[in-house]
């Protein structure tokens, strides 16, 4: 009896779960599917599902028409570059705050967090003007720096929450043996910190990849990463859904896969350690 109930329960839950999952995932699935259609089939009514002439032409054409790979390359440079730069600055900071906290550490952390809450429009105009005067509007360097700065608080925080979990006893032992701070870092703790740094790296590449306020406002053509490039498909002239889908699929696929691998870290990073 109990078993019958629980089997029925499992069936109901399975159906409900998959229905919800498929519904939410549908726009992504549909985009990927449309990318393999011809432009004619992409707007066909009723829509063609699975039984159409699969084609890879859109992918080739997106590249040919607008040098897609260049924008892809820009996205890679900006997201990986800004994350690496951020880590370079943040690792020592998070390290020091986790292992040699002073009475100010908490305030510093809180203040860093508060910079993240500054709405971008509040500083849009000055940044735009500074960039214009420095001649770094529409440059990879400028965007990399801006994106590094907007994500720096998250990087410091995430690293800090990871570093804090490394047992302090090990540090004490190393200090007793007369190790200098840098020796502790290189030989004792770095191996334990690598997973946290890797997770932080992943989450921040994802955030930087998808950032769309500064990329849209500070680039035109040269440095435009995929977020800005895709926006150029919003022009009303003609419907290029298949090509839009191909460009979109390539833009979201790498980050979707990274995201799926780092879902746990995502919770932690985005809640600043408040939920994990």
């Amino acid at each position: 009896m109990a078993r019958a109930v629980s089997t029925r329960r499992t069936i109901v839950l399975t159906i409900a779960g998959w229905t919800v999952g498929l519904l939410i995932f549908f726009p992504v699935f549909w985009t990927v599917l449309t990318s393999f259609k011809t432009e004619g089939e992409a707007v066909a009514i009723p829509p063609s599902i699975l039984f159409f002439d699969w084609t890879f032409e859109n992918y080739a054409e997106v590249q040919e028409r607008s040098n897609y790979l260049r924008h892809f390359f820009n996205s890679v440079v900006i997201s990986v570059g800004s994350t690496l730069l951020g880590l370079l600055v943040a690792v020592p900071a998070a390290w020091a705050m986790a292992f040699s906290p002073t009475k100010n550490t908490k305030n510093v952390l809180m203040w860093m967090l508060s910079t993240k809450m500054l709405p971008a429009v509040g500083v849009l105009m000055p940044i735009y003007l500074i960039f214009r005067d420095l001649g770094i509007l529409d440059s990879l360097l400028g965007l990399t720096v801006v994106i590094m700065l907007i994500n720096l608080p998250i990087i410091v925080w995430m690293l800090y929450t990871y570093f804090r979990e490394i047992p302090g006893d090990i540090l004490e032992a190393a200090r007793m043996d007369g190790a200098q701070l840098w020796q502790e870092i290189v030989h004792v703790l770095t191996p334990m910190a690598i997973p946290g740094i890797a997770s932080t790296f992943l989450l921040n590449v994802i955030l930087a990849w998808n950032e769309a306020f500064w990329t849209l406002n500070l680039t035109t053509t040269n440095a435009a990463p995929l977020t800005a490039f895709i926006a150029s498909y919003s022009s009303p002239e003609g419907l290029f859904w298949a090509k839009l889908s191909a460009a979109s699929t390539m833009a979201i696929a790498p980050i979707l896969i990274l995201g799926w691998f780092s879902q746990r870290q995502l919770v932690r990073g985005l809640t600043f350690g408040a939920v994990k």
Partner: protein, 290 residues
């Protein structure tokens, strides 16, 4: 234990981050504040002249301002309701055992990783297009008149797109919180004859309260600056129907090139965001003391 030497080393290690963020925050913000009291139009010679509160007055009395504030509240409120309620239901569902749960979870979180411009264009074209879009196809299947989403219901359209992106965030965080719930407590209540509903109200919901607060506050921070979704779909229109505060400032800045007024708007946006931020920072700060 920490010697003077290590303490100064530690300070030197923290300094670069602090200095960078300080410069990043203080310099532009000070400039915005300064510009907000100046008459400064790029298309008009670009000379600066002190005008007192004039930019604020003109920003606030602009006919777009009232709708922009209302739209911002509706957008943030709408997305919060949809994503938090929906996210809670999804989290409760995903907390149960069923076949393929791992795969369903991957599907559910996918929208969060889709870049805003892709979300906006896919929804605008392939789903919401009144002639060729899937929504119109489905409504015709049921014999209903297709809706011209972006023209007739622009703000709702943007709300739906943004909700789709944030639903996974709420679901994932609430699920994580649910999984830390002590199952013995639930079982004990069950044995005492508590119904599923009262178990949810008296045990699960209180347990989730902090995660819920965090979700609401963090989403609010991000939702106050929704930009790309409006930029590539409605452009704030038709009229001002989907113009938010963020979008209004953007228009003053990079369409009208009125630096002074855009800056006044920016400062207003900063003040609004700070009201939310104070709550969030307190909450997270408490967590640090544990």
């Amino acid at each position: 234990m920490a010697t003077l030497h290590t303490r100064s080393t530690a300070r030197a290690m923290v300094a670069p981050s602090v200095i960078l963020l300080l410069v990043w925050m203080i310099v532009p913000l000070a400039m915005t504040l300064y510009f907000s009291f100046q008459r400064y139009r790029l298309l008009d010679g670009g000379e600066l002249r002190f005008t007192g509160w004039r930019n604020y007055e003109r920003f606030v009395t602009n006919p777009t301002f009232d709708p922009a504030v209302i739209n911002t509240l509706l957008l943030v409120g709408g997305v919060l309701v949809i994503s938090v309620v929906g996210g809670l239901l999804i989290a409760l569902l995903l907390d149960q055992q069923f076949k393929g749960r791992t795969i369903v979870r991957l599907m559910v979180i996918a929208p969060f990783f889709v870049m805003p411009t892709v979300t906006a264009l896919v929804w605008k074209n392939m789903l919401m297009n009144p002639v060729f879009g899937l929504f119109s196809y489905v409504s015709r299947l049921f014999g209903l008149e297709p809706v011209d989403w972006l023209n007739d219901l622009p703000l709702l359209s943007v709300t739906l797109m943004v909700s789709w992106q944030w639903l996974p965030f709420a679901a994932l965080i609430l699920l994580t919180a649910l999984q830390s719930l002590d199952s013995e407590q639930i079982e004990a209540a069950e044995m005492d004859g508590a119904s599923a509903f009262s178990r949810f109200i008296y045990i699960t919901l209180p347990h989730l309260s902090r995660a819920l607060t965090v979700v609401i506050l963090i989403e609010t921070i991000f939702l106050l600056s929704v930009f790309a979704e409006i930029f590539v779909t409605t452009g704030g229109g038709p009229g001002t129907q989907s113009t938010t505060l963020t979008y209004m400032v953007f228009k003053e800045a990079l369409f009208a090139f009125d630096v002074g007024r855009a800056s006044a708007g920016g400062i207003i946006a900063v003040i609004l965001a700070n009201i939310v931020a104070i709550f969030l920072i307190r909450l997270i700060g408490k967590n640090l003391d544990r």
